[in-house]
């Protein structure tokens, strides 16, 4: 299968039929999404380095894969993300406070999935893929036409649960698009030690419709995901999109990628930066004027400032919240533990 490309590494549009659907508005919108995501990502990275966040996993380099895919589905299509999908989350209106809370350690998740139709991050690899399939079975039973989009990484594809999800979706014809951001690495493990055949081929073997797309080409990602989603929406059965991209940063702020990959490899991918590539097109075609860029810079600066502000402003949670929401039906044992701990804490205050 050939990798689907619309916008070459040189920033030129191919003569693919889908290129005709590319409009200046679309490009400006996708460009804005990517620029804002990169700003949030780099601010969060800095905040982690300053000790304001416990950990951060950058989406640097993967903006096209995320923005292109989420902008290709409807706003009411539910999304089941992995944990590095900040660009996609931003597109769904999830703000910096919600995005940073988990990594600051003040909450285990940041937003209400129902409000944004965007699930909470899943740190246990591949678990969300089965949830997506189940949710899609619900869509089938409700007789509505949402398409469920589920993100995962190349490394996660080796988990049994990922493969159960592919198989299950194919068996019940669930309306789900599995979207793999194949960023070449799973922490220090390259894809060559993760699978023996390309993932898109495996997916086809399970009976999924497949797309292999240049994940740093936001237009190709957009077109391929749209194609996949529309097939699914028409009842054509589940699909898998494999987007070839690259994790430009370390796995997380705790990682030291110099231990396992070369500067030459990074250079190769730097030349394929998804934002630069679209910028080249915008510039050549004259689709974005100076005012657009000035506005966008200002917007990014504002997002950066807001990110820093809301991050530092997040207070530590009250200890008693630990006992909330464990069992919706409540439990006397838990209530006793909560009250006991409150009394214990109060005893210090009494003492002092």
């Amino acid at each position: 299968m050939e990798t689907y490309v619309l916008l070459g590494a040189d920033g030129r549009l191919s003569d693919e039929p889908a290129a005709r659907d590319v409009t200046p508005e679309l490009c400006r919108g996708l460009y804005r999404d990517m620029v804002l995501a990169r700003r949030l990502d780099s601010e969060a990275y800095s905040l982690q380095r300053q000790g304001e966040l416990g950990l951060w996993l950058q989406c640097l380099g993967q903006e096209a894969a995320q923005v292109g895919s989420i902008r290709a589905i409807r706003d009411d299509d539910p999304v089941f993300p992995s944990y590095r999908d900040h660009a996609a989350a931003l597109c769904r209106g999830i703000g910096p406070e919600a995005l940073l809370a988990q990594w600051r350690g003040v909450r285990q998740s940041g937003w209400d999935p129902a409000e944004h139709r965007f699930g909470v991050y899943t740190l246990v690899l591949a678990a969300q893929l089965l949830h997506a399939v189940g949710y899609a079975m619900g869509v089938q039973r409700d007789g509505t036409d949402e398409v469920v989009l589920a993100y995962f990484g190349d490394g996660s594809s080796s988990e049994g649960e990922a493969n159960e999800a592919f198989n299950w979706a194919a068996t019940v014809n669930a309306p789900v698009v599995f979207f793999c951001q194949n960023n070449q690495w799973a922490i220090s493990t390259p894809t060559s030690r993760q699978f023996g055949a390309p993932l898109h081929r495996r997916a086809a073997g399970f009976g999924l419709a497949t797309e292999l797309v240049d994940g740093n080409d936001v237009l190709a990602v957009h077109a391929a995901t749209r194609r996949a989603a529309e097939t699914v929406r028409r009842g054509g059965g589940p699909a898998l999109v494999e987007a070839t991209t690259y994790r430009m940063a370390g796995h997380s702020t705790s990682d030291d990628p110099t231990r396992y990959r070369t500067e030459a490899e990074l250079d190769h991918w730097r030349a394929r930066d998804p934002i630069d590539r679209l910028r080249t097109l915008l510039d050549r075609e004259g689709w974005a004027d100076e005012a657009f860029h000035a506005d966008l810079d200002a917007e990014a600066d504002a997002l950066g400032a807001e990110t820093r502000r809301v991050c530092r402003a997040m207070p530590d949670p009250d200890p008693s919240t630990m006992f909330d929401h464990v069992l919706p039906g409540g439990s006397p044992v838990l209530a006793a533990q909560r009250d006991g701990y409150a009394a214990y804490l109060a005893s210090f205050e009494d003492a002092s």
Binding site: D112, P113, H131, A132, A136, M137, R141, D324, H325
Partner: protein, 322 residues
């Protein structure tokens, strides 16, 4: 109505499917076959394959898709075919099902019930006689219940399905065919322990398959002039600690009986709580009777592995004689 424990479950499922269109039943062979224990017999015929779902053989898949269905507003009741086959789903249960409500600050509720035929006594081959309640009872975020009678099988299951909590629902497979009365309504809430037999000399604390064994032991002890109380925990998480403390506070002597290996079993939790809470009332150590710390043995040895009337009475005698 007098019926078998198995049938009491079927009617509970039937009722739930009938009254709430969001309720689904899913699992391996639950459709045309009606499940290997026939608990779901006839349900697919009445409610169709979209609500009574024959799944692929993928336990993580069963629980994982149930979680997704629950997020979509459904109330899935999953069947795991045998106790020993729940482990492939352990990750989804422990890290996803149990934690989702808490980790989303209450934004997501997962009213999923996982039915597990449990424990031994039916002469089965390996992996078909596990008593694994302790794993789940130690997992914060799960409610764990064990039915011992048709009445509880029916009403506990209905309560479990109606509850918004994720519930692990244990069905003692050696009791599927035992008959009993099912009343018109529940007599207890889901979390309450039940005094199955009152008695003043010693309290037997147990659940599931061992309730009947303990009742038999109490009947035998009566002939020797000992008045044993039998308490069925019913709810294994959270445990109705106050009820247990109340009972043992009165009798001053207790024996905990379960099928799982004693070491690290839930009997330890019960005994430790009682030893702490009833310290001054206890006239003898709380003894535990359970399986040995060995893998469940071949069928011809299971009568040696599972606590029986004699082993319970042995512990009772020692405790009374202390």
């Amino acid at each position: 109505m007098t019926t078998t424990l198995s049938r009491a479950l079927t009617t509970a499922l039937h009722h739930a499917l009938e009254t709430d269109p969001k309720v689904l039943v899913m699992g391996q062979d639950v459709g045309g076959l009606g499940g290997v224990f026939r608990v779901t017999d006839g349900l697919q015929k009445d409610f169709g394959p979209d609500r009574v779902i024959d799944t692929p053989i993928a336990e993580a898949g069963i629980v994982g898709t149930a979680i997704g269905l629950a997020q979509r507003g459904y109330r899935p009741v999953c069947e795991i075919q045998f106790d020993g086959f729940v482990y492939p789903a352990f990750n989804q249960i422990v890290s996803q099902l149990a934690k989702m409500h808490a980790r989303t600050g209450g934004a997501i509720t997962l009213p999923v019930v996982i039915r597990i035929p449990v424990s031994g006594g039916i002469g089965a081959v390996e992996h078909h006689s596990e008593s694994n309640e302790a794993y789940f009872a130690h997992t914060a975020g799960l409610r764990v219940v064990a039915a011992a009678t048709p009445q509880d099988a029916h009403w506990l299951l209905r309560q479990a399905i109606e509850s918004d909590d994720p519930v692990i629902f244990f069905e003692p497979k050696c009791r599927y065919w035992s008959k009993g009365e099912v009343a018109d309504g529940p007599d207890l809430p889901m979390h309450a322990a039940r005094t199955v037999r009152p008695g003043g000399d010693l309290t037997l604390l147990t659940w599931g398959s061992m309730v009947e064994t303990c009742l038999a032991a109490a009947a035998a002890a009566e002939e020797e002039g000992h008045d044993l109380e039998v308490v069925d925990l019913r709810s294994l998480a959270p445990i109705d600690v106050e009820a247990l403390v109340g009972a043992v506070g009165r009798t001053g002597r207790a024996v905990v009986v379960h099928e799982a290996p004693v070491t690290g079993g839930l009997g330890g939790e019960v005994a430790a709580s009682l030893a702490e809470r009833c310290f001054d009332r206890l006239e003898a150590p709380v003894r535990r009777v359970g399986g040995f710390d060995v893998p469940y043995p071949a069928a011809r040895l299971e009568s040696h592995y599972r606590p029986d009337l004699d082993r319970v009475l042995d512990a009772v005698d020692r405790t009374l004689a202390y």
